[in-house]
Every structure is written in structure tokens, then in C-alpha cells.
């Protein structure tokens, strides 16, 4: 495997082109099971996307006047963004609370978050009927500032930029750009602070989109606190995704990860499991409070009530207790299972708001059920994201250690801060 560019190796555009051309070549085996399965789906998906763009949304989706939002919004965007929440939580823990324990996971999570926003929020582009107007909320003279979606669209854009800045030192290390890396690394904390504020607002903003569908969402799900619920659930959704994705990438990219880190990963998982249990419990507690205040007891006896209880008990309370169990007995298998369950809970919850508990009174024959083409395109988007992630992880220091010259810079800075810091600390003590 060809390593990163050496510091200062790339001096001009020609070097750069040579380097990029070399890096574009595939690095692993080409005919793996994953590739053989995923490539046809991706190609089919992209063919369907062309049909969608030429003939309109109705040609590939089962959307209707009754159900204007399908899985491209309810799953790709709503669930994708919730799962990408791991990035803002881990950066909070590592850069704001400075817990070094989780540091090894930050880059992979930030990269995942960034790609999730690019691909899944990018799915909005496919879902927009008049996609060529996608820049209208950003440029122009007619801003719908009273719209929740206006806020969400701006936040998506700004947050993608923040995530890219957070990840960019890895790109600079890959290219061997020493000075650029230094500048980009100095922006990280600012990007993190900004990113967390943006995430808080657009995670809850996605929920706020449904506030005006008051008459259409089942009363067990509709509450004025939807934004808060969406925000809190994004915490365990994101962390569960980190557990899930981390487990997979630690197997797939095992050769890139040094022994120490492999060992510490188990401790990290237990820590994440603890956080998930906490967030799930807070979420469960809020759901119960809302249920009691809503005085909708009688609805629990209806079929939709059963569905509500399945979500609340089976996909919130159960994973919460599984996480607790896994943390208590250091059982990683149980923690992983709990992560999958709570992720399933998020998928069901977001689909409830957009598809299932949305207009629950419409008979099944007239309901929206996604077409195979919608599902294929969604799969194609997910698989493309995995391909891009793999491409980057195989080339840039995402899971593996940063190159030595970048590490050196950090140690130098450390000793400088120590020397400078001593008198400062004395002054503040007086």
C-alpha cells in the first residue's frame, strides 16, 4: 500500500496531478463480494436517477397528492441526518470537554457525518421537483425567513462546511501540505463550536417541519415538543451509529489500526453505550411525560396505540436496558445489539412522522408504499457513500495515525504551551 505524500513532496500543480492520478487507482482487491453486489445496484440506481430527472418524480416514486413526502425525505434525510449526529456529539466530547479517550474515533465519525450530509441530505436534490431552483434559498431576493425549511437548508449548507473544516487537516496530511494543515487545524475548535450550534438547531428543525402537519399526524406522535424529541433522539441515534459503524470499520480496516487502539476500542464502546443508555432514558422519560400531559390514554388501545407502544417499549426502553446491561457486565455483543435496536427505533420513529402515522386515517389501499425504484436509488446512494468512505479511509489518515511530521508539530506545540502556561497559572492563582 502506497503511503501518504511526504511533507512538502507536492511542490507544484504537476506533482499534484501525478499524486492524484496515482491515488485514484484502486488499492485493494477489485472482485470482492461487497463490490460484486454493490456495483450493479449503484449502476441501476444511477440509471433510475436519470429517468427521474427526465420524466419527473412520478416516473420512479409512488408519491401522491396525499403523501407528498416518501422515503427519500422520511428515511434518507430524516434518518440519515439523525445517524450523522454522532459527529457533533463526539466533537463536543473531544474538543469541548476534552475527553482524550474518544479521540481515535473523531476523524472517522466526522468523515462519516460529512459524507452522510453530502449524500443523504443530497438526496433532497433528487426529491426536489424543481431542483434547478435549489440555490434559491441561498442566493436571491426572496427569502422565506418564516419557514423552518429555510433554516434547515441554511444549516445543512453551513454544517457541511463546518464538518469539512473539521476533517480538512486529514486531507492536508494526505497531501503533505504542512503549512495548510497548521492553518486548517487552528480552525477546528471554531468549526466545532459553530457545528454544534447548527446541529442542535437543524436536528430539532427537522422535527419542527412536522409542526404544521398537526391535523395529519396521529395525536400519539404529534406534540409541540417534536423538535426537542428529534434533538434528544439524535444523540443516541448518532452514538449508536458510531458503535455500529466503528465495529464494522474496525474489522474491515483492521490493518490500519495499531494494536493499542484496537484494545482501547472496547473501552470506548462501553463508554458510548453508557451515553446511549442515558440519552435513551431521557428520551423515554420525555415521551412518557408528553403522553401523560397529552391525555391520550384511550388511544393506546387502538391499533395505532399498539404500534406506538412497540416503538416506545421495544425500540426505546428495551435498547436502553440492553445498553445498561452491556455496560454493567462489559458485554460488547449486547451493546452492539442495543445499538442496532435503537437505530431501528430511529428509523421507525422518523418514518412514523413522515409516512406511517402521517394520515393514519387513510386506508391501506391509498397509502404510500415506496416503489422498488425508490428503494434502489436509496440503496445506491448508501452504497456510493460506503465506496467513497472506503476510498478516503484507504488513503487519508482517518483510522490510522497521522504522519510523523504532523505528530511532531503537535508535540512541539505542547512543550511551548507548558512553558508559557506556568506563569499564567501562577498569576491566576494569586
Amino acid at each position: 500500500m502506497k503511503e501518504l505524500a511526504k511533507a512538502g513532496e507536492i511542490k507544484n500543480v504537476k506533482d499534484f496531478m501525478v499524486f492524484i492520478r496515482r491515488e485514484l487507482k484502486p488499492k485493494g482487491k477489485i472482485f470482492t463480494i461487497f463490490n460484486v453486489i454493490s456495483l450493479p445496484i449503484i449502476l441501476l440506481g444511477f440509471a433510475l436517477i436519470v429517468i427521474r430527472l427526465v420524466k419527473g418524480l412520478g416516473s420512479v416514486t409512488n408519491l401522491s397528492q396525499e403523501f407528498p413526502w416518501g422515503i427519500w425525505i422520511g428515511f434518507d434525510v430524516m434518518v440519515g441526518v439523525a445517524f450523522a449526529g454522532g459527529a457533533y456529539i463526539l466533537t463536543f466530547v473531544v474538543y469541548i470537554l476534552r475527553s482524550e479517550k474518544y479521540h481515535p474515533l473523531v476523524r472517522a465519525t466526522v468523515l462519516n457525518g460529512f459524507l452522510a450530509y453530502v449524500f443523504y441530505a443530497g438526496a433532497i436534490f433528487l426529491d426536489l421537483g424543481r431542483w434547478w431552483n435549489i440555490i434559491n434559498p441561498i442566493f436571491g431576493n426572496k427569502f422565506g425567513v418564516n419557514s423552518v425549511l429555510f433554516l434547515v437548508s441554511w444549516h445543512f449548507l453551513l454544517y457541511m462546511i463546518s464538518l469539512f473544516i473539521e476533517f480538512s487537516p486529514a486531507v492536508a496530511e494526505w497531501l503533505g501540505f504542512r503549512r495548510v494543515r497548521k492553518i486548517l487545524a487552528s480552525l477546528t475548535v471554531g468549526a466545532v463550536v459553530f457545528g454544534i450550534a447548527l446541529s442542535t438547531l437543524h436536528q430539532s428543525g427537522l422535527g419542527a417541519l412536522f409542526l404544521m402537519a398537526k391535523d395529519k399526524i396521529h395525536p400519539l406522535w404529534y406534540t409541540e415538543f417534536i423538535p426537542v424529541l428529534f434533538f434528544v433522539s439524535s444523540v443516541f441515534a448518532g452514538l449508536s451509529m458510531v458503535i455500529f459503524e466503528g465495529t464494522i470499520s474496525h474489522r474491515v480496516f483492521a490493518d490500519q489500526i495499531d494494536h493499542d487502539h484496537q484494545e482501547s476500542f472496547d473501552r470506548i464502546l462501553i463508554g458510548l453505550g453508557k451515553a446511549c443508555a442515558g440519552a435513551l432514558f431521557v428520551y423515554f422519560f420525555m415521551k412518557i411525560l408528553i403522553l401523560i400531559h397529552g391525555k391520550q390514554w384511550s388511544l393506546l388501545a387502538t391499533p395505532m396505540g399498539t404500534w406506538y407502544l412497540i416503538e416506545l417499549i421495544g425500540l426505546v426502553l428495551l435498547p436502553c436496558s440492553l445498553f445498561l446491561h452491556g455496560v454493567r457486565y462489559h458485554n460488547l455483543a449486547v451493546i452492539r445489539m442495543a445499538a442496532i435496536l435503537s437505530m431501528l427505533g430511529i428509523i421507525i420513529n422518523r418514518l412514523n412522522y413522515s409516512v406511517i402515522a402521517y394520515k393514519w386515517y387513510v386506508p391501506l389501499s391509498q397509502r404510500y408504499i415506496p416503489s422498488w425504484m425508490e428503494i434502489t436509488i436509496t440503496l445506491a446512494i448508501i452504497l456510493t457513500e460506503v465506496w467513497v468512505f472506503r476510498w478516503i479511509a484507504n488513503r487519508m489518515p482517518v483510522l490510522r495515525e497521522s504522519p510523523e511530521w504532523a505528530m511532531e508539530e503537535k508535540t512541539v506545540k505542547k512543550s511551548v504551551t507548558i512553558r508559557k502556561e506556568v506563569p499564567k497559572w501562577k498569576v491566576s492563582a494569586i
Binding site: 397528492q65 407528498p68 413526502w69 421537483g129 409541540e224 497559572w425
Partner: protein
């Protein structure tokens, strides 16, 4: 604590960016000088007791907006409740009620404070000062207006590469010329009455009081979702003629107002809090091992 110039500027810059952002995102408050003397929205009063189901309004509407003109003699359309479509901005439905057959014309209600308008992130949907809620082509096709409409009126052209939102615009192009909406002009039974909303409510009340027992003492649209431009009179309860009576009287934009007001607050307070925590943890950290995070 001493702050060097660099970190001071960082914090200052962040705060100023936040403040500027907060300002642009806050729904703007009107200044006294900007407030124009109140002008009544115009609307239409539909007296369902007068409607005979001739569908002249449908034909007139289609002609006025270059849509497919329907065959209005076809009685089979009444077999089930009808909804507006991408090519029919207004439809008449027949309802079998406790007091016999009732015909009801449906179309956009032209709310005083429309959910679709506040949902639209590019102001493609607009409430005009004359009263109509109209759609423009700068629309992105996100279809957020559709779940946000209490009456499920905006219809989207799914089978077009250049799709539009289709809905009644209260003949805005005619209103600007001082003409009445096409449907109102076409109605042979005077079931439709066009005028300023306030006068329509007075007229509706007059009809209710003058003929006791003929009407329900309720004008649908007077208070529903904060008031609508279209107002309905009926002799039977409104649920029986296809109206939702559980919508409440709160204007739909109110539902998102609380969330939107919290946005500038979060954008200002959250970064301040985070920077504070970051600073606190830094000092402890540095004391311990002088760590500078990457």
C-alpha cells in the same frame, strides 16, 4: 484570566457573526411608518344551500386558467367525493346528508395566515394584499406546502420534468384588473358572492338571522385556522359536507413560531456556553499535561 488579542478577536468575531445571523433570521418586526392602513382581504362567500351542482364554476375556472375544460354534463363524477387535482383548481362534490343532497364547491380557502406561505422557504407561495394566495415559479418543488396546508390544497405535478404546484389563485390576474373571480361570475344561482371579507361575514350573518332554521348558525372559515378568504354557509353540520371541524382556530404559522423564535437565542447562547466550557477545560487540561488538542 488574561486573554491574548488573538483569542479575544476570535470570540468577538464569533459573537458578531452570531448576532448578525440572529438578526437576519428573526422574523422582522414592523416599524410604525411601514404599517399601511388596513385593507380588507377579499374573499368569496359560498352559500351551499343555493348550489345546484351545475359545475359552471369548474368550466369557467378551467377556461380562465387554460386548464383542461371538463364536460360539465357528466353526472358520474358525483359518485364519490372529489378533490382538486393538478388540472382542476375547483371541484363540486355531492354529499348525501341528513337533509338530502348538498352540492359543495371546494378550492383553496385562501387563509388569512396561510400555512403554505409560512412553509415556503423561497416565498414562491405568497398571500397577496388583495386576498389570494398565489404560487410563483421560483418554487423548488420541495412540497413542504402540502403537509402544511390544513385543507390539502396544493397539488404537485408528479409526472412532469418541469413540475408546478397547481391550486386556485382566486383569479389574482383578474382581481388586479378589478374583475371578479371567473367562478363567481359564472355561477347562475348566485351561490357565490365576492367581496371584502368583512362584508361577506356581515352578509352571511344577515342570511342566518333572516331565515331562522334555514342555516346552521356557523360560518365555516370565519374563525377556522385563524380565518379564511372563502366562507361557507350550510344547512347541515359541516362534517357531513366534507369539512374538517377539528382544525381549531389557531393560524397554522403559529405552530412553528415558538421554534423559530428560539433559533437566534440558541445561535447566540449555545456558542457562548461552548466556548466557555472549552476555556474551562483547557486550563485544567493544561495544568495536568499541557495538552493542546489537534
Amino acid at each position: 484570566m488574561d486573554i491574548d488579542r488573538r483569542s479575544f478577536l476570535k470570540v468577538l468575531g464569533g459573537g458578531m457573526a452570531g448576532a448578525a445571523l440572529g438578526n437576519t433570521l428573526l422574523p422582522r418586526r414592523l416599524k410604525a411608518a411601514e404599517i399601511v392602513p388596513p385593507k380588507q382581504f377579499s374573499g368569496v362567500l359560498v352559500d351551499t344551500t343555493r348550489c345546484v351542482g351545475c359545475r359552471s364554476c369548474e368550466a369557467a375556472c378551467a377556461e380562465a386558467h387554460h386548464l383542461t375544460v371538463p364536460d360539465i354534463n357528466d353526472q358520474s363524477v358525483f359518485e364519490k367525493e372529489r378533490k382538486t387535482t393538478v388540472s382542476q383548481w375547483t371541484v363540486v362534490s355531492r354529499y348525501n346528508t341528513e337533509k338530502g343532497e348538498v352540492f359543495v364547491k371546494k378550492q383553496c380557502m385562501h387563509c388569512n395566515q396561510p400555512g403554505c406561505v409560512s412553509a415556503c422557504l423561497v416565498k414562491a407561495m405568497e398571500k397577496r394584499k388583495e386576498g389570494p394566495v398565489t404560487w410563483e415559479t421560483n418554487c423548488m418543488g420541495c412540497r413542504y406546502c402540502m403537509p402544511s396546508c390544513p385543507f390539502e390544497i396544493p397539488k404537485f405535478e408528479y409526472h412532469s420534468a418541469n413540475p408546478k404546484i397547481q391550486k386556485c389563485n382566486l383569479c389574482w390576474e383578474r382581481l388586479k384588473k378589478g374583475e371578479k373571480p371567473a367562478c363567481v361570475e359564472a355561477c347562475p344561482e348566485e351561490a357565490l358572492l365576492f367581496g371584502p371579507r368583512k362584508e361577506l361575514i356581515e352578509e352571511a350573518n344577515r342570511r342566518i338571522y333572516q331565515k331562522p332554521g334555514k342555516y346552521l348558525t356557523h360560518i365555516y372559515g370565519e374563525h377556522e385556522v385563524g380565518g379564511t378568504g372563502y366562507l361557507y354557509l350550510s344547512k347541515v353540520p359541516f362534517e357531513q359536507i366534507g369539512f374538517r371541524t377539528d382544525l381549531g382556530t389557531t393560524p397554522y404559522p403559529e405552530f412553528t413560531k415558538g421554534f423559530l423564535y428560539s433559533v437566534p437565542l440558541v445561535l447566540l447562547l449555545w456558542p457562548a456556553f461552548l466556548i466557555g466550557v472549552n476555556t474551562l477545560t483547557k486550563r485544567e487540561d493544561e495544568r495536568k499535561r499541557g495538552g493542546e488538542i489537534r
